[in-house]
């Protein structure tokens, strides 16, 4: 879905959000209350610059608008694959973005992630996956890596990975699998405003994903292993 169509459905035609290259931001009104919206579009590669741009808005929200909810709109192809970004410490910039979002959560800001097109890997770890919870539109896709690169690194044949991506929940990029595994809390269908309203009101603030993965059957071991470590003599 195009970001403007999404944002219009959520906040009306005068939402006030603006697009600056791949970066989206705005202060919108939802149910009479302001919400800070930060996002990316055009399957943005997240480099140092874009990570810092997002962190800037989060930090400003913490200091200037205590308690204001934050909505992260996610459409990314993952981290920017450039030597310059590695030199400049893109992992540090991403950790900074993640820490900023995490601090916002601890300071009482509800942070909701929504994958509205695609999300990959590093671009997702410090956005949707560090929010209170992440939601997704039904046609969205989430991946760790594109198949050709994955084949090179794992030495597994591309044909095998392609077949697994169609049939195996661990590899398939459809967001339904992420719901089953607990990584995505729920899909937003139909009345998107109702979905957002519900998310703002009911998203838990502790990390429930392993428990959700066990209850939903998509990730059976994680929660049990965590508990075993807690209980070990």
């Amino acid at each position: 879905m195009q970001w403007n169509s999404l944002v219009t459905q959520l906040f009306g035609p005068y939402h006030g959000m603006r697009e600056d290259g791949d970066f989206l931001q705005g202060e919108v009104i939802f149910d009479g209350e302001p919400v800070a919206v930060i996002g990316t579009t055009n399957h943005a590669p997240i480099g140092v610059r874009l990570a810092l741009a997002q962190a800037r808005v989060v930090l400003d929200t913490i200091t200037q608008h205590p308690g204001r909810p934050i909505l992260l709109l996610i459409d990314t192809q993952g981290q920017q694959l450039r030597r310059r970004d590695e030199l400049l410490g893109i992992n540090r910039a991403m950790a900074h973005l993640g820490a900023s979002i995490d601090l916002a959560r601890r300071r009482g800001h509800r942070v909701i992630g929504l994958v509205y097109d695609q999300a990959l890997s590093g671009g997702f770890i410090t956005s949707g996956l560090i929010a209170d919870a992440c939601y997704a539109l039904p046609d969205a896709e989430i991946r760790v890596m594109r198949i050709p690169a994955m084949a090179r690194v794992t030495k597994l044949p591309e044909e095998k990975l392609t077949a697994l991506s169609q049939s195996n929940p661990v590899f398939a990029p459809g967001v339904q699998n992420y719901v089953a595994m607990g990584g995505v809390r729920a899909l937003w269908r139909g009345d998107l405003q109702a979905c957002l309203r519900d998310a703002l009101a009911h998203t838990p603030t502790e990390d429930r994903r392993a428990r959700d993965g066990a209850e939903r059957g998509g990730r059976r071991m994680a929660a049990a292993v965590v508990q075993r470590v807690l209980d070990a003599a």
Partner: protein
């Protein structure tokens, strides 16, 4: 001197912690293993590539995890990640003096794809919980595989990072960058370039690690002991300071023509490092002395 890089994860634990003090949780004999690897014809490890437990370091109680880089490149799978999350959650409950992570990882274990991605994220959130509780998290990086991918982000969420000059800390590996944008973007076989871009000396000079040591287990031990007391919870002021530092760095090379020039040396010069071009040849001790901030 015992090379930290050449040790296995378990050897590092045996040599770095107080002798005989490591008590493992979910040891290999409990066979808590990956549910996803067999379907790919890949053998699993009895500990899923990470040993977790409690120990003492210089007499102080610590919780510790050591990733085995030789197994699946240290990649984080469902069980591996859950062991780390369990360790972090237990630290919140039992409050050791510190949590040590002997990190050696390519990030998400690709063979477990979606499960691995979610796992890394859960580790990140759990680590941030420990840090927010005022328990210092120390990451040691010195293995041959480095600390990459999602674990490169997780590492930078910790209070304190110790690296050797052999270690590497980054997001994407050079091979992935070369495959994506070509050999002119990043020649992954140019080892000197790889280490100038992601290695311990570079990360020390830019402040991306907090201590630089020789490739020696005793040196890592000493640096970990020195770091135990330093908890640095995140505050808005601290994040503003970090933001300013990263913004300044982003623009450090903006007005410089870097075509066909050594960008690392240019960056070090821009950061005030004298004789930047000599850095790769200098000893660890000499490089340590160069950092101005």
């Amino acid at each position: 001197m015992i090379s930290y890089a050449e040790c296995s994860a378990r050897e590092r634990l045996a040599l770095l912690l107080d002798a005989g003090s490591f008590h493992e949780w979910l040891p290999p004999s409990e066979r808590v293993m990956s549910p996803h690897l067999a379907q790919l014809g890949v053998p699993s490890a009895f500990d899923d590539g990470v040993a977790v437990g409690r120990a003492t370091l210089d007499g102080r109680s610590v919780f510790v995890a050591a990733q085995e880089g030789a197994f699946m490149g240290g990649g984080v799978g469902e069980v591996h990640g859950a062991k780390l999350v369990g360790l972090m959650q237990r630290a919140l409950r039992d409050r050791p003096a510190a949590v040590l992570l002997l990190a050696e990882s390519g990030g998400v274990r690709l063979h477990e794809a979606n499960a691995g991605l979610i796992a890394v994220s859960e580790v990140m959130r759990a680590l941030l919980d420990v840090r927010a509780a005022g328990i210092p998290v120390l990451v040691l990086i010195g293995g041959a595989n480095g600390c990459f991918g999602g674990m490169g982000i997780v590492a930078r969420c910790a209070d304190h990072i110790v690296m050797s000059d052999v270690g590497r800390l980054a997001m994407s590996g050079p091979e992935v960058i070369e495959a994506s944008h070509g050999v002119d973007e990043f020649d992954s076989r140019d080892r000197a370039l790889v280490w100038r871009t992601t290695g311990g000396k570079h990360r020390w000079l830019t402040g991306d690690c907090d201590a630089l040591v020789e490739d020696d287990v005793a040196a890592f031990r000493a640096a970990a002991i020195a770091a135990i007391g330093e908890s640095k919870p995140f505050t808005p002021a601290a994040l503003e300071q970090e933001h300013a530092l990263l913004t300044k760095r982003l623009h450090a090379l903006d007005t410089t023509d870097t075509t066909d020039r050594d960008e690392a040396a240019l960056l070090w010069s821009a950061l005030g490092i004298a004789d930047a071009r000599q850095v790769p040849e200098l000893s660890v001790e000499a490089v340590r002395a160069l950092r101005t901030a």
